[in-house]
Structure formats: C-alpha cells, structure tokens
Amino acid sequence: VVKLAEWRGKEIFHRYGIPIPKGRVVRSVAEAEELVHNSTLVLPLVVKAQVLAGGRGKGGAVKFASTPAELRSVVSGMLGMQFKDETVKELLLEPKVEVGRELYLSIALDRSAREPLLIASRQGGVEIESMADDQLLRIEVHPFAGLAAYEKRQVGAAFGLDSPASKELGGVLDSVWKVFQQEDAELVEINPLAVVDGHLLALDAKVIIEDDAGFRHLEYSDIRDDRTPLEELAREKGIAFVQLDGDIGVIANGAGLTMATLDVLAQFGGKPGVFLDLGGTDDPAKVTEAFLLMAKARPSVVFLNIFGGVTRCDTVAKGLVAAMALVPESDRFPLVARIRGNNEDLGRQILQAAGITALSDLKASAQAVVAAERPRAAGKAPA
C-alpha cells in the first residue's frame, strides 16, 4: 500500500476542491523562516510532523508557534526527531485556526459487502477505533451510483451543521467520493473535518492508495511505505518478502501455502524470520534471485516448500542449483527442500544430481528443518 503523508493527501484534496488550510511544507529551519519573513505564512502557525503513524498530537509531533523565536525552536526540534518508527524529515506549516467543531468523514472498502463504505460522525478529532458505534453513520455507496442526494442529506443530518458549512457539505462529499474512485484509494479519511468561522475545512488528510493500481498512478511510484531494505529489494524483483522475528528462512510459492508452512514450523518450535513467496513463475532466474535474497537475510536454516503448479518443481530445482553456486561461502545455510506437484520427479532428479535430497512429506520436512537449525554466529542482518 502507498500511505500518503498528510501534505500529499491535502494536495489531492485541494485538486478536488476540498477546502484545506493554506499551508506549506518545509524541510529546514531556514525554509520556515523565509516563508514567514516574506509573509507567505503569517504567525501564529501550527507545525505538523509529516509522519504516517497516528497519535501525533499527544506524541509531540504537532506544536504551535506564535513568534519567530518559537517557530525556530519548534521547527529545529521537530526535524530529525524520531516518532515511533519514523524519522521526521518534513513539516507542514499551517495558519493556526479557531476550531468550532470537529467531525469525522471517511470512505473505505467494505470487503464483505463488496461496496465502498462511507463513515461519518459528529464527534471527530479522535481515532475512529475509540468512537462509539452508535455515533457512526455508515452508508454503503454503490460504485455505479455514487453518493445519492438523499445519502448526502443523511450525512448532513448526522453532522447537524449550520449555514454556510451545511451548504458546503454536498460538494465536499462529492469530492471525497471522487478522490476515492479516481485516485484508486483504499482509504480517504478526513479527521477532523473542522468547522472554522462557519466554513468546512479539512484539518487532516489520510489517503492510502492501492498498490495494484500503481500502473495508472506513476505519480506515487517514488513513495516507499514501511518496507525494510530487503523487502524493498525483493519487491523490485517481484518477490513477496516479509521479515518476521525468528531465524528460519522459508521459501514457498503462494500466500496460503506460505502461511501454512509457517504454521507447521511454529508447531514444531521453529521461529520463521523471513518468508519469501515466489508466486507463480516459470523463470529459474527468479528462483535464483529469491535464494540470493534469502542468503542476505542470514537465516539459521532455509525451508523450501513448493507445490508445483504454474511454478513447476523443475524450474525451482534449476533456480536453486544455480543459486547454490553463487552464494558466497560465508552466507551458506543449511537447507531442507520439499517439493510436490507439477514436474516433481524431474525436480527431484535435478536436485539429486546437485547433492540435494528433496523430501515429500510436509510434516517430516518441518521437523527436519527445526532439527537442522544452525547456531547463529554472525548475527542477524539489519532489518
């Protein structure tokens, strides 16, 4: 997923006509001072760290500045600060406003209903998880019909707004729906949607773009989410790679089989540290890449569990044999291979010729993996 920073979300809001404060992004104290000096921004300002984690207000990632001296100290204090797992590199500076009311508005996918779900609440400004269920208005939005006028009236009634905010609401709702559909969003959330001087104003923006829609949203291609460097490298090679807390490396094909493999290992006391899903491939080179990636993670033992379908057993065997010749001596790891399915016999022969005996029983293989774990000497690769 591509989680957009607040300022990027607000940039999108602005493009779709959702009112936002007139703010600017800065990456240095000098930039912030210059914006005030040339009157682009006028004190007092709110300074917001552009991190993706929630709870910024309580965590010191949102502060106010009323004087040039305060601005300097707040900006220099916040830039480079560690907030949860993120380092603050960008700040959003916005005029401080007098907030009348705080509302909540979002659209996300409801998988069960197979429909987008709009959620609105008159009690915004807190995380939705902490809102009481009876305070939430839920409206399933049909993708063909969009938001109907009567549905917008329901939201209006839930918010209980006065003019002019009440008159602005329809436009905001239409725009949020358009952002959700046209930007291929998984989530569009405005929390709070504030009333300021009687007008609606989006004081925050949380927009998550779906990965699979990347082919038509190249503008987001430079945004990294919370992947580790190895996860990022794997992604570039089209391999699903996830780092967990243990030491065992798992290479399997298919998400379900990979998860089942982890479950079976856990049953026998094994702690998976990295798993790598080959997906469907008939390219031995991709399998080789997978093993080379795995070696970089310095696993205690590697469990290869393949059920051959699109990814045939012989393809995997060839890729594995090629990888073994390329992995440097220092990165070698014990290996347990288990293959079943398409071209199983051929795969078994190829591995045998390279001195690798492939097993076929899943349970016995998992037990062999746990037994083969080597003690960890060199330590774990940095996550």
Binding site: S112, P116, D212, A255, G256
Partner: protein, 294 residues
C-alpha cells in the same frame, strides 16, 4: 448437474497467445476440457495448440458455442476483457490474472451481476470437476473423480490439500479456488449453496486463511443452511498482526480476521477443524464414515 462446470462446458481462453494462456490451454485440454476457442485481438485466424484464435469473444462465442471464459490477460486490460466476455454472453468467467485493482474488480462484479455473469477470481486458480472440465490453472495431477467438494481462498495450498485427499484414495466432485483478493466475484457464501445442492458432493472441505471475515460469514451460512458435513482448515494461525502475508486479504488488522475467530466460528457451526493441512484427509475420511456415505 454439477457445480458450475461439467461436460457441457465449452471454454474460450482470453489471452491464449500469451505464455500462461498457451501453457494452460494445453493443460486444460489434457484434463479433458473442451477448449473451443482463444481470443487475442489482432491474432484472429491463427491457431494455438489446435485451438482456433479469434479477434473478439463475440466472434468466438458465435462460431464455437463457447459458454465459459478464462482470462489470462495482464491486469491493466483485465477489466476490458471481462466486459467483452460478459457482453458476448458467456455465463461464467474465471479470472486468473493477479494484481487487478479492487476498484476495477468492484466494477466488474456489479457489471457481471447486471449481465447475469458469475465471476470466479480474480487472482485465483479457477475451478475443476475431475472427469468433466477444468477452467483455470490447478495442476491436473492432484485430481481424481470422487465426492468431496473443495472451496478455498488459496492457490497452492488448495493443491496441497486436494492432493492429500487423492493420496488417501478419495476423489473430488468440484474444486473451486476463489482467490485471495479483497474483492472476489464468488465468496464462500456464494459457493456454499452450489455444493449443498450438488448431488455429486457428499462432503465439503473449506480452506480459508486469516484476514477479512469471509470464513466467519461462511460459518454462519453453514450453521443455518448447509446440510452436508464440512471439514475446514485455516492458514495463518502463527501470523503476527499487522503484517501483510502475501495475499492482499491476508492481514490481521485491528484484531479482526484472526485464525482463532475463524476456527471458533467454524467449530460452532459443526465443522471438523484441521490444525494443519496434512490433518485434512484423515478428517475427511472420518467424517464420511460417520455419515455413512462414500
């Protein structure tokens, strides 16, 4: 009558000239499926593995009587391929393609409903009824005709379990891989009544995974409306919360979609729950014995 595909199934392969399209055309034919046509715009008039290729699905349907389509075209073009199939009048479309944006899938799903076209998938292995027809990519070697139905959200894990059923000497009536994407054309709840009504299915194996609430909803349906014995397995019991486990759907978020919640719902619905994939076949045999069918 079986579940969705049978000896009368006539398949058109959209994207037949692509590598996967060609490979699986051969496999489907070897399974005994009537693959009657392929479609790749601009390649009409050629042949792939003895199957005539047409420029459009409408032409393929008109000339060959195709009634089921399988889509192998890349994700950016999948929506258009589906519209074409639905407009040409096929009744079932199996979408193998992965990484289709869910916004596209929402559009396809509702368009399919308007046109009376069922979708299996996307990002799915498809459907197979041994001895009758296979539409999709499940390896032929795992099947043997029999009376166990299988529905699953996974791919290779399904193969693993179907193969296990074969290895203890039982066989399958129909097996459907629904796909693990956030929006799928056919859910467990959509598929359950088909197996309940199928005279060739004695028992159903349900293979789920963490994330979402599809298994909980299936359990609710089974409890109230499903008359046959069910054996269930859920993958991902050891998965940590918040990590995306490969399938877009396979994530435990905000405490929802855990293996524990799915397992207890299925148990409460009377399903026999297997702890691990290799426990499924013996549970199937045991349940069949209990109900006195074969």
């Amino acid at each position: 009558v079986t579940v969705l595909v049978d000896a009368g199934t006539r398949v058109v392969v959209q994207g037949i000239t692509g590598h996967q399209g060609t490979v699986h055309t051969v496999q489907m034919k070897q399974f005994g499926t009537k693959v009657v046509a392929g479609v790749t715009p601009g390649k009409g008039g050629t042949q792939v593995e003895g199957v005539p290729v047409f420029d459009s699905v409408a032409e393929a349907v008109a000339k060959t009587g195709a009634n089921v389509s399988v889509i192998f075209v890349p994700a950016p073009f999948a929506k258009d391929a589906f519209f074409e199939a639905a407009d040409a009048g096929v009744s079932l479309v199996v979408i193998v393609t992965e990484h289709i944006p869910f916004h596209d899938m929402l559009t396809m799903y509702y368009y399919g409903r308007l046109r009376g076209v069922r979708i299996i998938g996307p990002n799915c292995p498809g459907i197979a009824a041994p001895g009758k027809a296979k539409v999709g990519i499940i390896p032929n070697v795992v099947f043997r005709p029999g009376r166990v139905g299988v529905i699953s959200r996974s791919g290779t894990l399904t193969y693993e379990i179907v193969n296990g059923i074969k290895e203890i000497g039982l066989g399958q009536s129909t097996c459907i891989g629904l796909g693990g994407d956030p929006v799928v054309g056919t859910t467990f709840v959509d598929a359950l009544p088909l197996f309940d009504q199928d005279p060739e299915t004695d028992l159903l194996v349900l293979v789920g995974e963490i994330g979402g609430t599809a298994e909980e909803e299936a359990a609710e349906y089974i409890r109230h409306s499903f008359s046959k014995p069910v054996v269930a397995y859920i993958a991902g019991r050891s998965a940590p919360p918040g990590k995306r486990m490969g399938h877009a759907g396979a994530i435990i978020a905000r405490g929802r979609g855990t293996a524990a919640s799915k397992l207890s719902a299925l148990q409460a619905a009377g399903a026999a729950v297997a702890d691990f994939p290799y426990d499924v076949p013996s549970l199937v045999a045991q349940r069949l014995k209990e109900v006195g069918t074969r």
